[in-house]
């Protein structure tokens, strides 16, 4: 069973989506470590180190995700988590922007998977299975 860390990054308190992700991933046989809302990069990283997680799924709904996720990949590498898959999804940028360019920017920042608003979580489940084997 693969361990994954999920949570909502930054000063973002949107808890509903977080609970749905927890529920669906658990049902699909993932060992979910949910660090909840208002989580910092450090919280994600510390949790992933102790639990030996294979992926970190970052949620953000309030528009400031791009700021909150800056240097997250670099910080993971610094903490010895270079091998851990990084996913991000939600309303991750300010305003309405073309998702293709958003995805490109986040991939450049080191994220392996980037999801637009309204993505079915089952898509992430399929991607996790593919990425983690």
């Amino acid at each position: 069973m693969h361990t994954v860390v999920i949570g909502v990054i930054g000063a973002d308190v949107h808890a509903v989506g977080n609970k749905i992700i927890d529920h669906v991933l658990t049902e699909n046989d993932f060992n979910v470590v949910n660090i909840g809302v208002l989580s910092s990069q450090e919280d994600f990283i510390n949790a992933a180190i102790e639990t030996d997680a294979k992926a970190i799924l970052v949620s953000s709904l309030y528009g400031h995700g791009e700021l909150d996720c800056r240097y997250m990949k670099e910080n993971c590498e610094e903490a010895g988590l270079g091998h851990v898959k990084l996913y991000v999804g939600g309303n991750i940028v300010v305003g309405k922007q073309d998702f293709k360019t958003v995805e490109e920017r986040f991939k450049k920042m080191g994220f392996d998977r980037v999801y637009p608003p309204g993505t079915d979580i089952k898509k992430a489940v399929r991607d996790l299975r593919e990425d983690l084997g």
Partner: protein, 462 residues
């Protein structure tokens, strides 16, 4: 006259303290103390104290039971090793503190050669090795176990980390001379604390081995097993007093502050959860009975360390007399002369100032804090640690508080302060003093007579 006398013995770092309890009449017959004599024969001090007690209370009948605790010869010293500093390393440290140990060495991530060397030179009694949640990281704890095996320190090791690594660690240590124990993880799930199994083994090693190594074992001819380190008995007494026992009600959430010569210990019994809905709890789970120890806050041995914490200007804020004083000379006198007792008004005021600093600073480090997070939905708050603003009672113990004319003046330093707004300190507690110096003995007594210990505590804390 038929009497059932239970004698409680605390082999302290300075004094051996005795308390005699009449179990049938439910009274404290008397207390006495004599200097602890570890260097020669620990029984010398014990016998002297017993003689004093018997002379003062000739009516005391035959002693029918004895229980003892000890913090003599430096107390119990432990090192904690974990993976992430704020998680398993902290969990391991809390297990040690809860068991009554002094923890001067905490290491996180992979142990380096330098850290192993530090451990070698550190005069540590037990090492607690943690790392990884159950099913989580095991690479780090395996690395550290291997390092500790190779170093062959001759110190008992308690392994309380990721259970998935337990078998491999067993293989690493089996067949070596290292005394090792494998117990349940101190942090089985992220941020979940589970310190009791580790604490139990710490106590076991303390009884079977540490007492022997410190030259106190001889006392056991007279006292039976020395069953725990003194700070643990204080914590047990505090827990009993807070919770109550059967139909005998307790005091509810409370705090004990013990200002000693070398350290200041703070114990709180209570959940300390956030009091408002917009406050979110962060970080590792807090133990219900929590103890912190400040090795740089003490009245004598640590008086010089204390001086480096406060500037002369700050010191003045704690000193109540108008008179001039020589800060450095006064502190030096206490550091070099650990059994010094203040003889003038000025010296008493100086001790009081030191005690107020111990109280204030130890509180800052013990209580939780809040920080503001500005979210699009308004202000939210993070709380790290315990919210102790609603605590009912603050109980003071230790020589300086017990012997002070105005101990409650000193204890008031624990209260909320306008310049420390983000600290979740007590706001309006009642203050009690352990006048008869019985907290540790009542912790001991509670192991056999919990209800009696509770009643005596309620009667004698004033």
């Amino acid at each position: 006259m038929n009497m059932s006398v239970h004698l409680l013995v605390d082999f302290g770092s300075t004094y051996t303290k005795l308390t005699a309890v009449d179990v049938e009449k439910e009274t404290i017959i008397g207390t006495s103390r004599a200097m602890t004599t570890v260097k020669t024969d620990v029984l010398e001090g014990f016998n002297l104290a017993l003689e004093k007690l018997e002379n003062a209370h000739p009516e005391m009948g035959e002693i029918t039971a004895v229980s003892a605790c000890s913090s003599a010869a430096g107390g119990l010293k432990m090192a904690a090793v974990g993976l992430v500093e704020e998680l398993t390393a902290e969990a391991a440290k809390r297990a040690c503190l809860g068991a009554g140990a002094l923890v001067n060495h905490v290491f996180s991530h992979h142990l380096s050669k330098k850290e192993i060397k530090q451990l070698k030179n550190a005069d540590v009694d037990i090492i607690l090795l943690a790392g990884g949640t159950d099913g989580g990281n095991k690479e780090c704890i395996l690395h550290n176990a291997q390092k500790l095996k190779n170093a062959d320190l001759g110190i008992p090791i308690i392994v309380a980390g990721n259970k998935d690594a337990a078998d491999e660690i067993d293989e690493i240590f089996s067949g070596t001379d290292t005394e090792y124990y494998i117990v349940d993880n101190v942090m089985p799930k992220l941020k979940k604390l589970n310190v009791d199994p580790a604490k139990e083994v710490i106590r076991k090693i303390f009884i079977t081995r540490i007492i022997e190594a410190k030259g106190i074992a001889k006392a056991q001819e007279k006292t039976g097993d020395i069953i725990m380190p003194t700070p643990e008995s204080v914590l047990l007494a505090a827990e009993l007093l807070a919770k109550g026992f059967e139909d005998e009600e307790g005091f509810g959430e409370l705090m004990v502050i013990d200002i000693g010569g070398a350290t200041t210990d703070v114990h709180t019994i209570g959940e300390g959860f956030p009091k408002r809905t917009e406050v979110l709890l962060k970080g590792l789970q807090e133990p219900f009975a929590k103890r912190t120890v400040e090795g740089d806050l003490g009245m004598r041995y640590s008086a010089n360390a204390l001086l480096s914490l406060v500037s002369p200007y700050e010191f003045k804020q704690y000193y109540t007399l108008e008179d001039e004083y020589n800060l450095e000379a006064s502190v030096k006198k206490r550091h070099e002369n650990v059994d010094y007792l203040p003889d003038t008004e000025e010296e008493k005021a100086f001790d009081k100032a030191l005690a107020r600093i111990c109280c204030d600073y130890s509180m800052s480090r013990h209580v939780g804090t809040v920080e503001v997070v500005y979210t699009p939905l308004g202000n939210m708050y993070y709380q790290t640690g315990k919210d102790l603003s609603d605590i009912n009672y603050v109980i003071g113990t230790g020589g300086v508080l017990i012997n002070s004319d105005e101990p409650k003046q000193i204890l008031k330093e624990v209260n909320k302060k306008s310049n420390k707004k983000l600290e979740l300190r007590p706001s309006d507690p009642a203050f009690l003093i352990d006048e008869a110096y019985i907290l540790a003995s009542m912790g001991l007594l509670s192991q056999k007579h919990p209800k009696l210990a509770l009643r005596l505590l309620k009667r004698h804390l004033k």
